[in-house]
Symmetry: C2
Subunit: 199 residues, 2 copies
């Protein structure tokens, strides 16, 4: 008999996911047909539905991919000697991602879909909880070293930093004058004033 090669299988799925990301960023989840994804991936619908049972499952896979990427990023972050600089560095990365229109479109699309589809909503909420937990841990540690004002509750602070992240993607959508690479100083000012201990 023949067995499924997990690596090839995963690689083929990735082709579909990447094609879907490109399409979804352009036209949204409900604006793109499975036929379009097939064309972008260079395969037949029969084949596409061999790897994913439904269109919805493709969306799910994209959200899961997002989760792994952010988790991986935070894994490296905690050993930094200057934790506040690490936080600013992370936010710089976010600003960099926002400069990519594909990433931004997708982020907004996922947020909008989270409000409509219960299942996607749960996945996205879990992702967000993970992000906030990492931010919160970072703030707590920095607070212990006197780098962040102890008056800021780590969880509440993380919540508003997450809001600022969301806001950055929102700017991309509606404000053509918002150029991520030029906004770094103002973002640093905002974060520093919000978080740093008063002299």
């Amino acid at each position: 008999m023949r067995k499924v090669d997990p690596e090839k299988h995963a690689a083929r799925r990735q082709v579909i996911v990447d094609a879907a990301i490109a399409c979804f960023a352009r036209k949204g989840f409900h604006g793109t047909s499975t036929a379009e994804i097939c064309a972008e991936a260079g395969m037949s619908p029969g084949n596409l539905f061999h790897y994913f049972p439904t269109k919805h499952a493709i969306i799910t896979a994209i959200v899961e991919e997002e989760r792994q990427e952010t988790a991986e990023f935070f894994r490296e972050l905690h050993e930094s000697p200057d934790l506040f600089a690490a936080l600013l560095g992370f936010m710089d990365v976010v600003l960099g991602l926002a400069a990519d229109p594909v990433y931004s479109s997708l982020a907004l699309e996922i947020a909008a879909e989270a409000m409509r589809d219960e299942h996607i909503g749960e996945l996205v909420a879990a992702n967000d909880a993970e992000l906030r937990a990492a931010l919160s841990a970072l703030i707590k540690a920095a607070s212990g070293r006197g780098q962040i004002d102890a008056a800021i509750d780590p969880e509440a602070g993380a919540r508003w930093i997450a809001a600022i992240i969301d806001g950055i993607f929102g700017r991309i959508a509606v404000d053509p004058g918002f150029k991520p690479d030029q906004e770094r100083p103002m973002m640093h000012l905002l974060l520093t004033r919000f978080l740093c201990p008063k002299p």
Copy 2:
């Protein structure tokens, strides 16, 4: 002959717009069919398309309605003696709107659609420019009275306040622990530290 009564005509359009808002908030622009809007509005498709030439035109009308509402709100704001308090007050209103899931869903949906549809994108960008101009004027005036740090460029400051507004709606979508009415103090702290002059 008989002439079209503009008031009745407008009222009838409003029925459709309201129905569409309810549907769009639930399932998104591309997730709701015109038949669903008809059902929600209690009318036939023939009738609905008598008032709007396309589904797209209904979306346009919603964005326009949004514009008028924010413009109206700012018209009252400028005579306040305490301009910084006026700004905080406006942000409290935003937080109140965010507590309404219909309004939040729609805000996210519109932002996502702005990235896909060029026409909607332009309308939304114009709305946003108007909002930022109002915020910027407020900051400038408050800066003149010494209520806001003169080091903050009004336009840049307005841009990041707009980002925080976007972020609030983002939180609603992905963070079930974000309760608008409990987040007021932290939002005030964030804005105060960001904007107020150092002692």
